[in-house]
Amino acid sequence: MIATPEIQTARTRGIANHELLEVSMGPHHPSTHGVFRMNVLLDGEVIVKLTPVFGYLHRNHEKIAEKNSYLSAIPYTDRLDYICSMTNNWAYVLSVEKLAGIAVPERAEYIRVITAELTRLFNHACLAGFLLQDMGALGTPLMYAFREREKILDLFESLTGSRMMCNYLRFGGCRCDLPDGWLKQAAGVLAAFSPFLDQFEALLDENEILHARSEGVGVLPRELAINAGVTGPGLRASGVNYDVRKVDHYGIYDRFPFRVPLGEHGDVLDRYMVRILEMRESIKILDQALREIAPGPIIDPKAKLRNLRPKAGEAYGRIEGPKGELGFYLISDGGPTPYRFRVRPPSLINLTVLEDMCIGHSISDVVIILGSVDIVLGEVDR
């Protein structure tokens, strides 16, 4: 029996009048999707307190980037959220473009939208698969999602030479043009994605286990979500209409009419459904982008890649990543390396309210609530 102050308070508040148990969940728990640890204090099976422990994957990405040139930070950003390297690249090059005042040609903007929305598609599909795996649907939904992801990764491989660590975007554009027939291939992958989503939804949306496990679980109230800086699908599931694509109109997103799906209750089911609906909107954006993309230059010829020395100053650029607002804050002192390089990691900040969402639920629900937040430890620990 441990007599921590928490136990004492829990006792005096009448929450517990018997022994509490402290359990260390992780860092090698399969549901943590990496090396993340939660110290949970249990009253029977009910969570009384939850303390997240970070840092198992910490390598001080920011310091590494401050020692290297602007260009050589791009491959490092791939490793932040290692599932979605394309969006990481975009957030970083967007910040450098703001800092140095670089324009982007139209074709490159289209390529960026296409790669980012493809990333969003497979990120959300995999999240849904993982979430259902955590609920006990072992294998099937996740494998279906991974099958679709493989097709998109094949596209990325033929475009960039790498499946996951794409290292593709550059200041003022992209590294190389689309290979011949890529757009047709992408249209084919996209055409197969809608039926996959129909099948996925038909299998799962009315599933009794999904509803029993996720309805009313891990509720995140709207005011708390805003105050705690939760972004991405988690915020919109709590009913806040805030999508950086709509707010900032970065890139060429103002050309695409798409809706922002919102949840009502802010529970795990809403977070799941918001992602499914966002995939539908992404398909619409992709359809339009693949239709409209025109030949042209893919990089601003005046943009300097090597030995870039932006004028002294600072810039904060952000995009709507699949997991939330991904931002880069850069300070230049006129030198060849960034004076300050900061990543705003959505995965880490979305975990601020993990304890609030978990208290009062059983330990098996923690797995699902964490799964619905959607974290990647490469980005949480940096």
């Binding site: 970070f54 840092g55 703001k98 800092l99 140095a100 004028k311 100053g313 900061r342 880490l348």
Partner: protein, 191 residues
């Protein structure tokens, strides 16, 4: 969104004694920021969040910046009497900028759609006065990010509910994001 000058006059009108300075930004991003004083920082933050015209309800990015002492050589013109004739002489004078640590807050408004408003807080120095007021009581989103500044830069946040190291382990002594940090061999420091 109101301009930075309008925002700072609004703050000064509402909070007596608040000292606010605009920090210009020469880069093409043109994101200038407001330097606010530490005594009124939390009051100003609460005002920015609750004021009906501003409603910065969302603190997006919170981070630290290390500014060690710098010596800058500045050309100054002084009048001197040389051989009985008054002449203007250019001299190189060394100026020392004081060292400090900085916390930078990027604020947005989810309700009104404005932003970013950038706030800066500066510590007295980098050693014994590396203390800032915590803004976590105003915005919960600062909780982990201020812990990170405490961990990596060594700024103590007064009024933070749970100020512990977050990425480095307990018992680690230095602050790795400081500019003068000297890495030690890994094997010596690991617990």
């Amino acid at each position: 969104m109101l301009s930075l000058e309008q925002i700072s006059t609004r703050i000064c009108a509402a909070i007596a004694g608040a000292r606010i300075e605009t920090v210009p930004n020469a880069s093409p991003s043109a994101q200038a920021s407001l330097l606010i004083d530490n005594e009124h920082a939390r009051e100003i933050a609460a005002f920015l969040r609750d004021d009906r015209e501003l409603q910065f309800d969302y603190a997006s990015n919170v981070t630290g910046v290390d500014w060690p002492e710098k010596t800058v050589k500045v050309k100054t013109k002084t009048k001197k009497v040389i051989d009985g004739v008054e002449k203007e002489v250019e001299e190189l004078v060394e100026q020392k900028t004081p060292a400090f640590l900085e916390a930078v807050y990027h604020l947005y408004s989810m309700v009104r759609g404005g932003g970013p408003l950038i706030l800066r807080l500066r510590t007295g120095n980098r050693t014994d006065h590396a203390v800032l007021p915590s803004l976590t009581p105003v915005w919960r989103s600062c909780e982990f990010q201020e812990r990170e500044i405490y961990d990596l830069f060594g700024v103590t946040f007064e009024g933070h509910p749970d100020l512990r190291r977050i990425l480095m382990w307990d018992g680690f002594e230095d602050h790795p994001m400081r500019k003068d940090y000297q890495p030690v061999a890994e094997e010596e420091t690991k617990p």
